[in-house]
Every structure is written in structure tokens, then in C-alpha cells.
């Protein structure tokens, strides 16, 4: 069984994993990082989106062995010193979540979007979030939240 080293939300882990173990199951079932949920099996929904080496990935479509040596940030690793990340705060302010199941992936995708485009238009936000499905909000408030998050990051 391959042994991998991976950093998750700032903590280093060494784990023996079956090759077929999905990164999302490593996070959820082995490391107790249940903040990242699973919504599909075809990489469409994006609920499981995490940062891997600084870029958003769908953790249901990455094998744990592929993440060997990688640095993973999940929704649980965003808050610093008990203060929510500005994007988390923006989602709260704009009521950009209802059931909250898509939210971890959506927030990570939104942060990644701003990494590439710090001041996105509404259209750029909508296209940038095309890989994350939400069934509750109709996306309007998510778009507003990303605008708000962008405003915080680029004063």
C-alpha cells in the first residue's frame, strides 16, 4: 500500500493508502475533515472542491496517491485565528447559502476565481463558478457575495 505525505489545513499527515482511495475519502473518512462533502460521482457538482497546491480541484476526482507531497486547503482551513475568511464572511452577508451543502466547494471556487481575476465582472463570476452546482440559491446571492469578497480583497 503506497505511503503518502500530505499537508491538510496546515497539518502534515503520513498515510498508507490504497491506490484507489479518493482524496475526498482520505479527507473525510481518514482525517476527519468532514467539512468537505460529496455531491456526485461525475465531477459535475463541485461540492468537494478543495485547494490542492493553491489551485481548486474536485477532491472526488483526485486519487489520494496523486496528492502525495501536496498541500491541501479545505473549507475548514480558511478561517484564521477564529475569523472567517473574507469570502466566508461575504457569503454570510449576502445570504449566499441555504442548505449549505454546496457552500464549501463554492467558497473555495470563489476564492480561486479571485486568485486569477481579482475584480471579476458578473459574467466572469458566473462562468468562473460553472463547475459548482447549487440547488437552493439560484446563484444570485452567490454572485453578489463574490463581488463583495472581491471588494474586500481589492480595496
Amino acid at each position: 500500500m503506497p505511503r503518502i505525505a500530505v499537508t491538510v489545513d496546515g497539518i502534515g499527515y503520513e498515510e498508507d493508502v490504497e491506490p484507489r482511495l479518493l482524496l475526498v475519502h482520505l479527507l473525510r473518512d481518514r482525517l476527519g475533515k468532514t467539512g468537505t462533502p460529496i455531491g456526485c460521482d461525475t465531477s459535475n457538482c463541485g461540492a468537494c472542491t478543495v485547494m490542492l497546491d493553491g489551485k481548486s480541484v474536485k477532491s472526488c476526482s483526485v486519487l489520494a496517491v496523486q496528492a502525495d507531497g501536496g498541500d491541501v486547503v479545505t473549507i475548514e482551513g480558511l478561517a484564521a485565528n477564529g475569523t472567517m475568511h473574507p469570502m466566508q464572511q461575504a457569503f454570510h452577508e449576502e445570504h449566499a447559502l441555504q442548505c449549505g451543502y454546496c457552500t464549501p466547494g463554492m467558497v473555495i471556487a470563489a476564492i480561486d476565481l479571485l486568485r486569477q481575476n481579482p475584480d471579476p465582472s458578473e459574467e466572469a463570476i458566473r462562468e468562473g463558478l460553472e463547475g459548482n452546482l447549487c440547488r437552493c440559491t439560484g446563484y444570485c446571492n452567490i454572485v453578489r457575495a463574490v463581488r463583495r469578497g472581491a471588494a474586500v480583497k481589492t480595496p
Partner: protein, 280 residues
């Protein structure tokens, strides 16, 4: 869902990778995994061994090599989209790569992987065909026209690994466009058209057209390419593009019947040609 068990090899060398693949006919190459992982999870594929080629140096990088740009097989769609070499030398590749799936998938999915997977609904095979790319493998070079053999089937032999692609730089005077038609942003193309057009003195000198999802492999719209030669932008373009579906054999699926796909090929080819030619 959960993949069935398989073995995993992260080879130290290209040779080790080739040997492992050659010695086990149920072994599969693992690149970014963005096409493979869903198939594994749905248990539509049961490989015995995955050979993870992602860390082999021979497959990485994007380089301007004079008359062409070399795109390493492991370059992700995101890398390709943002590459200065690609944007300058073969922008059509960047335009099409930017339409693949969604940002997170583009961070993992690779240029080489999507060509080797050879899904005719994928956006890049048609581009590779239109641009007359050359596939560089662990043992030879294969022109794109000879690479795509059938649905999900390429000319790659046992143990043969796609290292990268030479994308010809078409030079000044060429314009490009990728026209993708799909029902939702993350859905596969019902039809896509990759167009490269060289214009001078107000008329089209040369056009190359790759069709996505119009048959079991990517296809060239050769009749239209011929008919476009020397025509001015206007009704003649429409006339030429009405032949875009000639020689195609589009499939029927959930999203479209063949006659509709043929119709779309004509409409979208015209749009792609006009956009590539810089028509208003």
C-alpha cells in the same frame, strides 16, 4: 461511487512506464485523471494497473520551438490557457482549452490526456486535427490525421506513451475561433467547430476546420475548407459552410439527433469562420 481496486505505479522513468504498460494489457495511463476518475467511480472501467505519468519530465512543459509550440502531454488545460507561448503561437488551442469543463477540472485535466482519451465530444481533438498537430510519443511522431482511429481509440500502441504535441505556428494573417454549442456550461459539446482562417485582401485564402462530436472521431470539414478558398466574407461563406456536415456521421444521443447535429455543424461553422476571419 467507489472505484474497483487497482495497482498503482509511479514510474521513475519513461522506460519503466512503457514497460509496465506493455506488459499488462489492462494497465492504463493516469495523467490528470479527469476523464478516467469518473469512469472508475462509476465502475465503467476496471484497469488492473494505473501508471501515473504525471511526474515524468519528458511529458511536462510548454516550449516555443521555432516553427511550432511543443505542449507537454501533462500540461493542464489551465496551463495551456495561460501560456504565453500558446497564446502567441497557437491561440486556437488556448481558446478551446478554456472551454473544457470548468476551472477545477482544467486545473487537473491535461492536454495530452484529452487527446489520448480521444473522446470525439472533447474539444481538443478537433483542434489538434484542424491545426495539423504532430503527436510526439515515446517511440515516434504521429500526424493528428493518423492519430484518431475510432471512438476512444488512437494509434498509440501497447506501451506507447504520448509525450506531447507539436502545434504548428501558422504565422501572421491567420485568425482563430472555437465555437462550442452546449446546453449548459458544464455539458459536453453537442457540436463544436474549431476554425483557423487566413485572410488577405478581404478574401479567405485558406481555412482549416475541425469538427467536434460529428462522428466517432474528430473530423475535418474538408468540403467547406475547399469551398472557402478565395471567397470573400459574405453569402459565399454561408454557401461554403452549408457543406460542413459532408462526410460526417454524427451520433444520436440524449442531447441531439444526427440531423440536428448536421444542421448545427453548418451554422456553427459559418459562425466560427466569420469570427476567425474577424468579421463583425
Amino acid at each position: 461511487m467507489i472505484p474497483a481496486p487497482f495497482d498503482y505505479l509511479r514510474p521513475a522513468s519513461l522506460r519503466e512506464a512503457s514497460e509496465a504498460l506493455a506488459s499488462d494489457e489492462d494497465a492504463k495511463v493516469l495523467a490528470g485523471g479527469q476523464s478516467l476518475l469518473p469512469l472508475l467511480r462509476l465502475r465503467l472501467s476496471y484497469p488492473s494497473l494505473l501508471v501515473d505519468v504525471s511526474r515524468l519530465s519528458e511529458l511536462t512543459g510548454i516550449r516555443d520551438e521555432g516553427d511550432h509550440v511543443f505542449i507537454g502531454a501533462m500540461a493542464t488545460h489551465d496551463d495551456v490557457t495561460r501560456s504565453a507561448e500558446v497564446t502567441a503561437g497557437c491561440p486556437l488551442v488556448a481558446l478551446a482549452a478554456a472551454t473544457v469543463a470548468d476551472p477545477a477540472v482544467r486545473h487537473r485535466g491535461t492536454f495530452g490526456g484529452s487527446l489520448a482519451h480521444a473522446d470525439p465530444a472533447g474539444d481538443l481533438p478537433a483542434v489538434a486535427l484542424a491545426l495539423e498537430c504532430v503527436m510526439v510519443t515515446s517511440s515516434r511522431e504521429i500526424p493528428a490525421a493518423d492519430f484518431f482511429l475510432d471512438y476512444l481509440e488512437t494509434a498509440l500502441g501497447p506501451g506507447e506513451i504520448l509525450l506531447g504535441v507539436k502545434v504548428p505556428k501558422l504565422g501572421p494573417g491567420w485568425g482563430f475561433h472555437y465555437e462550442k454549442f452546449h446546453r449548459t456550461a458544464q455539458a459536453w459539446a453537442i457540436v463544436g467547430v474549431a476554425a483557423a482562417v487566413r485572410r488577405s485582401n478581404g478574401s479567405i485564402q485558406e481555412a482549416r476546420i475541425g469538427l467536434t462530436n460529428m462522428g466517432p472521431t474528430p473530423l475535418r470539414a474538408l468540403a467547406t475548407e475547399t469551398a472557402l478558398r478565395g471567397v470573400e466574407l459574405g453569402d459565399a461563406v454561408a454557401q461554403a459552410c452549408s457543406q460542413a456536415a459532408e462526410g460526417t456521421s454524427p451520433t444520436a444521443d440524449l442531447h441531439a439527433q444526427p440531423d440536428y447535429r448536421r444542421h448545427l455543424a453548418q451554422v456553427l461553422t459559418q459562425r466560427a469562420i466569420r469570427a476567425a476571419a474577424g468579421a463583425p
